[in-house]
């Protein structure tokens, strides 16, 4: 926190240029999301004309009555829920093992957990598809879940590891000295301390799964999650205003887990967990 307290450099003319560049960069990051909100109200149906010729609420009603949107949404929510639970269990256990001791192959374990997200998603996707084909596994709800859980483990793992590193070992020792066994210590000392980090990791895993499209294209078969529905509309548009409304709703919903994850863990831990 005390980094960069150099007053002299701050007053120099160089810093103004840096601040302007940073402001321009932030505008670049946020403007496209703001534009999504404007287009949801446009009266224009066929083109992406700017500025919108008029504003209307009509398309919210039309979207609400579309069964295909609801079906895709429900499938996405179910997949994300199951994948998140799997990732929570697997990610937490691995994080505890890695943070509690140094053992042979510890770096290899970290690498294996990170690999599904470090390699391009298309590799995970086509690898899973070729495995399903080789072993004659038909596409189902579970083939989507398997793919999602595989790359969600790392999000939970990173959040849990970041928090477990901060958890003082003497707390655990004190608990054991006072007569608690390992399970009681986990239940009453470790879990309350890492709980919010797990909740944050779980929410981010949910968001990651809910949004995933690249791996899902290869593991869904004929099923349609919300991102696959969106992709279909991007490539072969049917009713653009409905897509606009769905896009806006998705951005609005994403606010919630990000804000909650931030409030639960703080900016520094999130920056550390996301980049690790």
């Amino acid at each position: 926190m005390t980094a960069f307290s150099g007053k002299r450099f701050m007053r120099s003319e160089g810093s103004l240029a840096v601040k302007i560049a940073a402001a321009a960069g932030l505008a670049f990051l946020l403007a496209p999301l703001a534009i999504i909100f404007v287009y949801a109200f446009t009266t224009e149906e066929r083109s992406f004309v700017w500025p919108p010729p008029g504003l209307t609420l009509k398309w919210f009603g039309v979207t609400w009555d579309r069964p295909d949107v609801w079906a895709a949404l429900m499938l996405s929510v179910r997949v994300a829920a199951v994948a998140t639970i799997l990732a929570l269990v697997l990610g937490t256990l691995t994080a505890m093992a890695v943070s509690r001791s140094r053992f042979f192959g510890r770096d290899a374990v970290s690498l294996l957990v990170i690999l599904p997200i470090a390699l391009p998603g298309i590799i995970t996707g086509i690898a899973l598809r070729s495995a399903f084909a080789t072993f004659d596994i038909p596409f189902s709800f579970w083939t989507i879940v398997v793919g999602h859980a595989t790359f969600c483990i790392v999000v939970v793992y990173n959040n849990a590891v970041a928090r477990l590193r901060r958890l003082s070992g003497s707390l655990v020792e004190a608990s054991m000295d006072l007569g608690a066994d390992s399970f009681q210590t986990f239940r009453h000392v470790v879990l309350p301390n890492v709980g919010t980090a797990l909740l944050a990791g779980g929410m981010l895993a949910f968001a990651l799964s809910f949004d995933e499209v690249i791996v899902t294209t290869f593991t869904a078969g004929q099923q349609q999650t919300l991102p696959l529905w969106m992709l279909e509309e991007l490539i072969r548009p049917r009713q653009r205003p409905v897509t606009n409304v769905v896009a806006m709703a998705v951005v609005a919903v994403t606010f919630v887990p990000i804000l909650l994850a931030f409030l639960l863990t703080g900016a520094d831990e999130q920056t550390a967990a996301t980049t690790k």
Binding site: A22, L29, L33, R129, I214, A247
Partner: protein, 315 residues
């Protein structure tokens, strides 16, 4: 005798407590038990799938029947070197490099200001401004750019209003990177890649910059360095591992993406699209598998170099 035993004997234990005690004495077993579920999952589901895929890349496609011949051969890899396929690889790697360099340039000031000046509420604002685009739906972001880059969209309108329409036309007339409109040119593809992977560059750069002690910068200027010299000789070398770490993401993600160039681009293939088409409509699984080996090898080399540069400590 019996009285003494009663006094010394520990209180009766539940099965769980006995199990807990037993485990406490064998820390190795505990670690193994904690690791087993995830390792089994990743080894079977992930590495197993990767292995099946790699095996496919050593098969070949019978040219006339279109069936996969399950004999081990390197002929599919030789196909990668054909001019049409090699062009795809070259195009993708160049794009990944351009996107990585550009995101380092655009991302640095944001990371710098966030690490150096932002405190309290501003820190939170920077966090939200970077995290929101990072976690927002990928497809929605691509869609937003389709709206922005469309011929009748915002950018054309803005350039027109500013009387700079000729600049846009000039850009689009550039040979190689231009096109009919921004959304059907390499410039458009590049902008969208840059936008979508930029947060992945900002976060590690910011983390690296936050570790630079302020006293170093004071010392540099006390010793008479200009702000530029301080940046060049103190800040940049210390931030470099973070930038390299960020470039791992921007490079890898660009290499494997097949949706962005499909939605916004000139229609010429990138590696991801080639994989998608070969395994789908073309039905040439061996060639698709061989194509996926390209990013794996490139990223392997990239990671090895990044490790030498100390990027893993900055992750």
């Amino acid at each position: 005798m019996s009285v003494a035993t009663e006094i010394i004997a520990p209180p009766p234990q539940s099965a769980a407590a006995r199990l807990a005690d037993g485990l406490w004495r064998r820390p190795g077993l505990v670690v193994a038990l904690l690791l087993a579920p995830a390792l089994l999952w990743l080894a079977v589901v992930y590495l197993g799938s990767l292995a099946t895929l790699l095996r496919q890349s050593f098969f070949s496609l019978e040219e006339f029947s279109g069936l996969v011949v399950e004999d081990y051969t390197l002929s599919t890899y030789a196909e990668l070197l054909q001019p049409s396929n090699f062009e795809i690889i070259k195009r993708t790697v160049l794009m990944a490099a351009a996107v990585s360099v550009a995101s380092a340039i655009v991302g640095f000031p944001i990371a710098y200001v966030a690490a150096r000046y932002a405190r309290g509420a501003w820190k939170a604002a920077f966090y939200i401004a970077v995290m929101l685009p990072l976690w927002s739906s990928y497809l929605v972001k691509v869609y937003a750019w389709k709206l922005i880059l469309a011929r009748e969209g915002i950018l054309t309108w803005t350039f027109g209003k500013l009387g700079l329409g000729f600049v846009l036309d000039g850009l689009l007339a550039l040979p190689g990177v231009g096109g009919g409109s921004l959304s059907t040119s390499y410039i458009g593809t590049f902008l969208v890649f840059l936008y979508i992977w930029l947060p992945y560059m900002i976060l590690p750069t910011q983390a690296a910059l936050e570790r630079v002690p302020g006293s170093l910068i004071n010392a540099s200027s006390d010793l008479g360095a200009t702000p530029w010299a301080t940046f060049r000789h103190v800040i940049l070398p210390l931030a470099a591992p973070g930038i390299v770490a960020g470039s791992i993401f921007t490079f890898s993600l660009t290499l494997g993406d097949y949706i962005i160039p499909q939605v916004i681009g000139s229609g010429r293939y990138f590696i991801g699209q080639a994989v998608y088409v070969q395994q789908g409509t073309a039905g040439n699984i061996p060639l698709a598998a061989a194509f996926t080996v390209v990013p794996i090898v490139i990223m392997g080399v990239y990671l090895a170099v990044a490790r030498k540069l100390g990027a893993f400590d900055a992750l």
